[in-house]
């Protein structure tokens, strides 16, 4: 990677696209390299700390690095290294963002560092691609990532594995940046599997807990099912294009239209396989089962990896492949269908979960479903927009939940209680103890519920609106399907408002169900944790104002143009998405700009949806505040009906266990015990034993009597002589 920076510094080795000659990205290699350096430094700390810890464990005790009130160097350095490299990377990204903005880039800038894989028919460069899409992702990853790193400093403060945590986190950011900056599918795949690895390591961060490391393993294996799809898609792409690079005159996107027939089998196969990969990474039905389990990791990890960045990689990949998806309407319908189905299923499950992180996990799955719906209906900008706003408010929700859990944990720890610190039934009334957290969480809740003027309103509304608009496109072969999607999406949006309100009510309102002794120990999180929350809250409020269609700006939504809103993101991403949009319009005709079935324009439906969401929130507040919850220990699981199905997550885990895991395990055992040990080795041993048997029979002729031997010898001589004499 040092070469990377060196190569970046050498003029002329960089940009390939001639149009972009006027803009040289500043040290793009270092954006990737910094987190990697952070990882190296933190892992050194981690290994040093682990050596001490292991020595203590071997001696029969536990290592307390904070004994005597002093933090060892291994636990102070990561505080500065971890967030520090993120801050630098974020600043570099900002600098480049500013430069790119000023340059009005048409073509992506590709920076090649070295040749990675090269054969006579395949060349893959270790190269990064800077364009508007990757820039947005880089900003989200480094920006939100930085805030979460800072939050982690407070959250993980008392953990023995503190340096290891930051090492993993930095490594994750490194791979995530490779994913979003990679100049081709192969490079993207490095990041793709790399973030999967980090996710595995971080979910199983407390690896001595069997359940947690099981969850990490599950995440990795399910992700690998998706990776299989990605791999095969790459094979098809390679066979069709002879390259895996995105940009350039030989790249996939420049030749997509010429090489692949629109709606053809190849492009459909490619896009569906890519969707399989995306479904694995972004937890879409039916591969969503790992994400709720992934909540076993530390909460900031859930915020960073399982809400803001990694799980959105699938959306990024679909948006990145927008050219291909635009050519495959069937795949798009499938993508949108999976998205909306996931959104609905996850939202229903979230209704009946009691673990605060599980609710958020399912809410993430559900929101990811919305993003896929957006990508599926060709609203790639909207999908990325929702990705961005979701990164803000969902990171905020997770971090807020983290603050709550942190506080609960400390309080319960003080009293020596073993109550579940994450179960909302054990919470209640926390608003008095955690003012800041309470406020910012409400902001995020309103944002995710789609209430004006919070960020989620604009992004989610845009997705739903595009679904409606494309449903009415003149020659959309799947128009009716899009109509169904639209209705389901609307319903799901209302469900979202309900379960999020339920979360807030159960956690912060009503009477406290926290153990009596522990209540007094509940307190607001330290400033290192609240400041990131506040920043994210601001983003959750105003983050949506960067992409408001002009029609809405001019309406009551934008206070008739007086609020500082713009359609900036749409214009910004235009160089990336315009091609796909063109293909789509050519295939389906223009979107109808009016809702299917009932009609009505964008402004009207925006108002309807925010009003409906607001009504649901208000109604939920009334309804749920009146309910009495009992602590988890006293509560019984829902015993019947839909509630039970939802509580058990539609039995997906059980289903997969019965239909996939157990049969494969059984087949494996059968292969081993029967095929290997009995059939193959049985044959092999039979050959051996048969030889032995034959030898034993032959040995019976060995009487040990020299005379017999002489006789047999004579017989032999006779035979040979006879042959020599008579058979000449």
């Amino acid at each position: 990677m040092v070469f990377a920076a060196a190569a970046a510094a050498v003029p002329g080795s960089g940009p390939l696209a001639p149009q972009a000659a006027d803009w040289e990205p500043l040290l793009p290699g270092w954006i990737i390299l910094l987190p990697l350096l952070g990882f190296v430094a933190n892992s050194l700390c981690a290994l040093l700390a682990a050596r001490q810890s292991s020595a203590a464990v071997r001696a029969g005790g536990e290592w307390d690095p904070f004994a005597g009130g002093k933090r060892p160097l291994t636990h102070t350095l990561p505080t500065w290294i971890g967030p520090g490299v993120m801050a630098l990377a974020f600043l570099l990204t900002l600098w480049n963002f500013e430069g790119m903005w000023a340059a009005h880039l048409d073509e992506p800038v590709v920076e090649k560092f070295w040749t990675w894989i090269v054969t006579s028919t395949l060349t893959v460069d270790a190269a990064v691609q800077l364009d508007q899409l990757s820039m947005i992702m880089m900003l989200v990853v480094t920006g939100v990532g930085f805030l979460i790193h800072v939050f982690s400093v407070g959250y993980m403060r008392d953990d023995v594995g503190y340096p290891r945590y930051f090492a993993y986190l930095n490594l994750f950011v490194f791979f995530m940046l490779v994913l979003v900056m990679g100049a081709g599918y192969a490079m993207m795949f490095i990041g793709w599997e790399g973030v999967g690895l980090c996710s595995y390591l971080l979910i199983g961060y407390w690896f001595t807990d069997r359940e947690k490391s099981d969850a990490g393993k599950k995440a990795f294996i399910v992700n690998r099912i998706g990776d299989f799809g990605f791999l095969v898609a790459m094979f098809l792409l390679y066979q069709a294009f002879g390259t895996l690079e995105f940009a350039g005159s030989d790249g996939i996107f420049a030749n997509a239209e010429g090489t692949l027939a629109a709606g053809g089998a190849t492009v459909t196969a490619i896009t569906l396989l890519l969707m399989l990969g995306a479904a694995g990474k972004s937890a879409q039905v039916p591969l969503h089962v790992w994400l709720p389990d992934a909540m076993a990791g530390p909460t900031p990890v859930s915020a960073l990896i399982h809400a803001a960045t990694m799980v959105t990689a699938g959306v990024y990949m679909v948006a990145r492949s927008s050219f291909l998806y635009a050519l495959a309407p069937t795949s798009q319908a499938v993508v949108a269908g999976i998205g909306v189905l996931t959104a609905l299923i996850a939202a229903t499950i979230a209704l009946k979960q009691y673990d605060i992180k599980k609710v958020l996990a399912y809410s993430t799955v559900s929101q990811l479903g919305f993003m896929f719906l957006g990508a599926g209906v060709g609203a790639f900008t909207a999908a990325i927009f929702h990705l961005m706003t979701h990164a803000f408010f969902k990171a905020l929700l997770f971090l807020g939940a983290g603050a709550v859990i942190h506080s609960m944990h400390h309080a319960l720890h003080k009293t020596g209680s073993h109550e579940d610190a994450q179960d909302m039934r054990n919470m209640g009334g926390l608003r008095t103890r955690m003012r800041i957290t309470w406020v910012v969480m409400w902001i995020a809740t309103l944002a995710i519920a789609g209430i004006w003027p919070f960020a989620g309103f604009f992004s989610k509304d845009e997705i739903i609106w595009y679904t409606a608009a494309w449903a009415g496109a003149e020659s959309n072969p799947y128009g009716w399907l899009y109509t169904v999607y639209w209705l389901v999406a609307l319903a799901t949006a209302l469900l979202t408002a309900f379960y999020m309100t339920r979360l807030m009510i159960m956690t912060f309102h009503g009477s406290s169900r926290v153990e009596k002794g522990a209540q007094s120990h509940l307190h607001e999180a330290p400033r290192v944790m609240t400041v990131p929350l506040i920043i994210l809250a601001v983003l959750s409020v105003f983050g949506g104002w960067v992409n408001v269609p002009e029609e809405l700006q001019a309406s009551v939504v934008g206070f008739f143009g007086t609020l500082p809103m713009s359609e900036w993101l749409h214009h910004w991403l235009e160089p990336v998405t315009a091609g796909a949009a063109g293909v789509q319009v050519a295939a389906m005709g223009d979107p109808s700009y009016s809702a299917p079935l009932v009609g009505g324009g964008e402004v009207m439906w925006a108002l309807i949806s925010t009003l409906a969401a607001a009504l649901v929130v208000a109604g939920a507040c009334r309804y749920l505040l009146a309910r009495k919850y009992v602590p988890a220990a006293e509560a019984a699981a829902p015993s019947s009906g839909l509630g039970r199905i939802l509580y058990n997550k539609w039995y997906f885990d059980e289903l997969f266990d019965r239909t996939v895991v157990q049969p494969i395990l059984a087949a494996s055992r059968w292969c081993w015990k029967v095929v290997d040990n009995v059939l193959i080795d049985g044959f092999v041993n039979f050959v051996g034993n048969f030889t032995r048997l034959a030898g034993w029979i032959a040995s019976l002729f060995q009487t040990g009597q020299a005379t017999t031997y002489a006789f047999v010898l004579t017989l032999g001589v006779l035979a040979i002589l006879g042959a020599a004499v008579f058979l000449q």
């Binding site: 070295w114 028919t121 490095i190 294996i221 094979f235």
Partner: protein, 556 residues
């Protein structure tokens, strides 16, 4: 460094190959004449010296046009046309470096493991090194066969003397299994020598042997059985788990890293070029690909349910070798190169895994996965090395495993898409067998008191694992220098196969009727299958002709 080595070409390239073969023998003599206590250090120094010398190959070796370099030949048995001739090309150079690297590491890794008859052990290790190096360097078939068989003897004793409880069974099984195959190969070699107008045992002479399609198929079968057992291909693999489990750590390392490679190397070096017609025969290709894929999936499944960690890793070897087999029989540049990289990567990562398992065994005297748990808490360095190695083994991008599997699969996809897709499920099953083991050994509760005193890596063990771990990452990040060096030789093999197939097609056209009744089982008329494909591909463009050229206007 480059200029330095290049400045003495007349020197280095004259002696290096002979030195690589014979220096271990000198070391062997030295080991035998020293005391048991000193023997391990002596053996390590000799093999280390060989490794340092072999490093020069990296700079001195110029792939050129893909033929043999540094060739030298001395008559050995003139009456039979047998020569002691050595040479190196882009395929063997990495195998040789892998050999010279693995041996000192295996020796270093055995310092504490081997406690009885140390002199004999280290002497046998050096003898093994000599044999394996010879296999990779020999350009005379007779010489090759001698080395090929020579490796059996030391391995037999290493398993049989220093092995575990069932060592005798394992050693005998290993010996007989492989001997059966190689004897058939000997018959095939002799047949080629005596009945196809060949007047010497040299590689070139055998390349020019004139064989009918029917002969090719039979000879192919004999060679394939010999090498297939060595590889091992499913279902000829059952000697491997037993041998691995019973062998002492260094034995397992050498077995996995090097001896298996002799099989795949044989496929590349001898089978494809000698019998191009048979290698292109659709039935043959189908059978080999199906066996390769079956190996990948089957071995992964069986590995996943093994209670014995060493057996698990042994089965993963079968799965990895399956990738090599499909890569080779895809008959594409990417496939062959991928297969070669898988060979290197497997040598490094599986060797390291066996070393790690050996360290576990030294500490706890058990190989059962269930006897461990929570090791990560007491041995962080060990755990780190273990995780990185496991990830390289399951082909995570950025490690060596990925490069090989990716290329092998993409190369297979070019000609046999379905096979590649089924084989690609191997990436899922790789996680399915490896991660549970990692978890059950390193993670989970540290609930067994014995594991609490599990020592972390010693300095020596760091030196054992360090180079391997570094290599896994280095190859994963920067494989281009390796790929570039092996490419010309791979092209030579491919061209040879394609030329031979065309020749076979021409011959098939002439004696079609004769062949039809001659080898009805193999069905020669179907040779027209690949041949048509070849004729369709322009003969002017050597190998890359197989890539689909994007045609504007769509292909659906």
């Amino acid at each position: 460094m480059t200029s330095f080595v290049a400045s003495i070409p007349g020197l280095y390239e004259d002696w290096i190959l002979h030195a690589l073969v014979w220096l271990p023998v000198a070391g062997l003599v030295h080991v035998l004449t020293t005391s048991p206590e000193r023997s391990k250090v002596i053996a390590f120094r000799w093999s280390g010296l060989v490794f340092l010398l072999s490093l020069g190959l990296w700079w001195a070796f110029d792939p050129g046009n893909g033929g043999f370099a540094f060739e030298s030949s001395v008559p050995w048995i003139e009456a039979w046309g047998v020569n002691y001739s050595l040479g190196i090309d882009g395929i063997s150079v990495f195998m040789v470096i892998l050999t010279t690297l693995t041996t000192p590491i295996a020796i270093l890794g055995s310092f504490n493991y081997i406690r009885k008859r140390r002199k004999a052990f280290y002497a046998l290790m050096l003898l093994l090194q000599m044999g394996v190096t010879g296999v990779f360097l020999a350009t005379d078939i007779f010489l090759f066969y001698v080395f090929f068989e020579l490796t059996l003897v030391p391995m037999y004793f290493i398993v049989g003397i220093w092995g575990g409880e069932r060592r005798i069974y394992a050693a005998v099984k290993f010996f007989l299994y492989t001997a059966v195959g190689s004897l058939l190969m000997l018959v095939a070699i002799l047949y080629m020598y005596f009945s196809s107008g060949v007047d010497s045992f040299s590689y070139e002479a055998f390349l020019n042997a004139e064989l009918t399609m029917r002969e090719q198929l039979w000879l192919f079968a004999a060679f394939a059985l010999a090498f297939g057992i060595k590889v091992p291909i499913f279902p000829l693999h059952t000697w491997l788990p037993d041998a691995h489990v019973e062998a002492p750590t260094p034995g397992s390392v050498i077995l996995a890293s090097l001896l298996l490679k002799m099989g795949t190397y044989g496929f590349l070096r001898f089978l494809l070029p000698f019998f191009p017609g048979a290698s292109q025969h659709p039935t043959v290709v189908t059978v080999m690909l199906v066996l390769g894929v079956a190996g990948i999936i089957y071995a992964a499944w069986v590995a996943a349910v093994q209670p014995d960690a060493k057996k698990l890793v042994a089965y993963t070897s079968v799965a990895h070798m399956g990738f090599v087999m499909i890569g080779v029989f895809a008959l594409t540049v990417n496939g062959l190169q991928g297969g070669l990289v898988v060979m290197i990567s497997h040598g490094v990562s599986t060797g390291a895994l066996f070393l790690l398992l050996g360290m576990m065994y030294e500490r706890r005297h058990t190989r059962l996965i269930d006897d461990f748990g929570g090791i990560g808490r007491v041995a962080p360095l060990f755990a780190t090395a273990f995780v990185i190695t496991a990830l390289a083994s399951i082909g995570l991008p950025g490690t060596s495993g990925f490069i090989g599997e990716f290329l092998a699969l993409i190369g297979t996809f070019e000609t046999h898409a379905v096979v590649a897709i089924i084989a690609a499920t191997g990436v899922i099953f790789a996680a399915y067998y490896m991660l549970p083991m990692v978890q059950r050994v390193l993670f989970n509760e540290l609930d067994k008191e014995e594991n609490r005193t599990f020592a972390d890596l010693s300095r020596r063990e760091m030196w054992v694992l360090g180079p391997l771990v570094a290599l896994m990452i280095w190859i994963g990040v920067q494989p281009a220098p390796i790929l570039e060096r092996m490419e010309p030789s791979v092209q030579v093999v491919l061209e040879r196969v394609e030329e031979g197939a065309m020749a076979a097609a021409a011959e098939g056209a002439v004696e079609d009727g004769q062949l039809a009744d001659a080898s009805g089982r193999a069905g020669p008329p179907s040779t027209s299958g690949p041949v048509d494909g070849l004729n369709a591909a322009p003969a002017t463009a050597p190998a890359p002709a197989r890539t689909t050229v994007p045609t504007p206007g769509g292909e659906d």
